[in-house]
């Protein structure tokens, strides 16, 4: 009833090309941003105990994983290149950021977090080179090579972790405007703001890229690479660009994960193949080739188990933590299959359908 676009005439192409052409959508986006930028922090300040838990366990990791999912989605969802190495690219970002901030401690950490993406981007391009000759599932093996090789480097090159006896990244305290944003003294709120700003900014950029020439050429390569060449799109540069942007996003997500979520330290095992699978399952459930889907997927895959655990806890059912975990794993798998059967394009597509229904409600069509 309220969700109608009738009467909203677009008089310019610019208006028609907007990412959110419908007024209600823009209002909702504004409210949403207001909620996450003002509402959530306010809540966290009013109820610090639950608020901090909410920020640290739900919001911060959710945003970071959503960013990683966007990264992988650019490669796999938009360009159609299967990758099982996103975990390692996240690792490259994390280690790059650690090196940078320990070599140049005075530069604001946020800058290094973003710059670390550049390193991950370079490594991504390197491992993307075989995509010239290798297609489809075969390419997945090239990314597995990246995954295992990079993980080996994280353990084996002590220079990467500054020869720490712990063999891990030990996050030093860094401040922004005099406020600690990394390390044990950084409040979840401070870290949340940084993460939110980076994720919001990078999501905006991703949306811009996807809705323009570059996004079209990625999707063209995905949908029909032969025809794409006839449009004058060169396959290798297009694919490498996808690898570059994707790894950049994953790298920044990885750096943020260690610096703004874990905030104190992380061992190389964090960036194992399991991390890659984790992010991959997010984009499958959320929807391949959808930015919104990346957020949905991250929410479902990351937050769902926590909710399940909480429900089990709260209900007081005599189920052991291990059983919950087993059920959770099974449920994740079952959900993946279920969503693929009901809607192969993931939650994002279901969301669109729901919106369509809402638009014509109360009429069936």
């Amino acid at each position: 009833m309220f969700y109608r676009e009738t009467g909203q005439y677009k008089t310019t192409y610019a208006a028609d090309m907007a990412v959110f052409p419908i007024l209600q959508d823009r209002i909702a986006l504004g409210l949403m941003l207001l909620a996450v930028a003002v509402g959530v922090p306010l809540f966290a300040m009013l109820f610090p105990a639950t608020g901090n838990y909410f920020l640290q366990v739900i919001m911060i990791p959710f945003l970071i994983f959503a960013l990683a999912a966007i990264g992988l989605n650019i490669l796999t969802g938009y360009t159609g290149l299967m990758s099982l190495g996103s975990g390692a690219f996240m690792g490259v970002g994390a280690f790059a950021c650690y090196k940078l901030t320990t070599i140049f401690p005075d530069v604001p950490i946020v800058i290094w977090v973003v710059v670390s993406g550049v390193f991950s981007c370079l490594v991504g391009v390197l491992f993307g080179l075989p995509s010239l000759r290798i297609k489809g599932f075969y390419l997945a093996v090239a990314t597995l090579a990246a995954q295992f090789f990079l993980q080996w480097c994280f353990v084996r090159i002590p220079w990467l972790f500054n020869y720490n006896a712990s063999g891990a990244i030990e996050v030093p305290e860094r401040t922004l405007f005099g406020l600690a944003v990394t390390g044990a003294n950084a409040t979840p709120l401070a870290r949340y703001f940084v993460v939110l700003a980076v994720v919001a900014g990078m999501t905006w950029v991703a949306s811009n890229l996807i809705h323009g020439r570059i996004g079209r050429s990625w999707m063209a390569v995905r949908d029909m690479d032969i025809a794409a060449q006839l449009m004058g799109i060169q396959l290798l540069p297009a694919k490498l660009l996808a690898f570059a942007v994707s790894s950049f996003y994953c790298g920044v997500a990885g750096a943020m994960m260690v610096f703004f979520w874990y905030a104190t330290g992380a061992e190389p095992e964090v960036f194992s193949i399991r991390q890659s699978f984790f992010v991959l399952s997010m984009i499958i459930i959320g929807g391949l080739g959808s930015l919104v889907g990346s957020f949905f997927g991250a929410a479902l895959i990351y937050i769902m188990p926590i909710v399940l655990g909480a429900i089990a806890n709260w209900s007081g059912a005599p189920i052991s933590a291990a059983t919950i975990e087993h059920l959770r794993v099974m449920l994740t798998g079952a959900l993946i299959i279920f969503f693929l059967i009901v809607e192969p394009h993931g939650l994002a597509r279901l969301w669109q359908i729901a919106k369509q229904k809402l638009r014509i409600w109360p009429f069936p069509y």
């Binding site: 090309m17 890229l209 063209a220 995905r222 029909m224 032969i226 060449q229 449009m231 004058g232 060169q234």
Partner: protein
Amino acid sequence: MTHHRSDDIAPGDILLAVENVSLAFGGVKAITEVSFDIRKGEIRAIIGPNGAGKTSMLNVINGFYNPNEGRITFAGRTRPRMKPYEAASQGIARTFQNVALFKGMSTLDNIMAGRTLKMRRNFFWQALRHGPALDEEIEHRKFCEEIIDFLEIEHIRKTPVGKLPYGLQKRVELGRALAMEPTLLLLDEPMAGMNLEEKEDMSRFVIDVNNHYGTTIALIEHDIGVVMDLSDRIVVLEYGRKIADGTPAEVKSDQKVIDAYLGVAH
């Protein structure tokens, strides 16, 4: 409205020359020593029975296959080997026998994809999608909207092409090729699988394109009637060899062509 890079070639002059081209896959010969030319501004048909090498010929022209022998001169430039995207940047566009649209994208995006080569704003501006990048996007959007109007597909502008009926898909594919503002447009069976009404529409579009944009067209088509009506000149292939070349009237009366089509034993 067109600004071809081959402006120096006057209408009626030779735009594309195929000389002694041969192509083989493994031991199988697809094309054997075929020569013909396409003049600027004409509609040139390539016909022949199934397996005559017509599609292979188009693939050679736009660089998918490199001929084993012979050479191809386009707009005065002879090329030994070429990649499809180079052909695209020289002004050769193409539609496919089995529609090769970007199925996950909308009609508009498909046609906009045809503008890729004309868009110049770099990655940085694209990432911001403001200022020059947005202006450019709008400028090209205008161009594409003209094509959409021209092809009468306004109503499906935002529909993912995978969901469109076949006839419309063919039209979108033509639109995408037109968006490239090609000098030479290759159409591979643009009317295959269409009913009479759709064929008439499509014929009208082909003629309009030729008239309105002055685009040179080479087309493959099985419907002899359509071919005779549309084309200025026809080249006939059989088993990879050229058996006839000339105006519709000449070809129609050629004995070899009649034999080939009626299946007289050789």
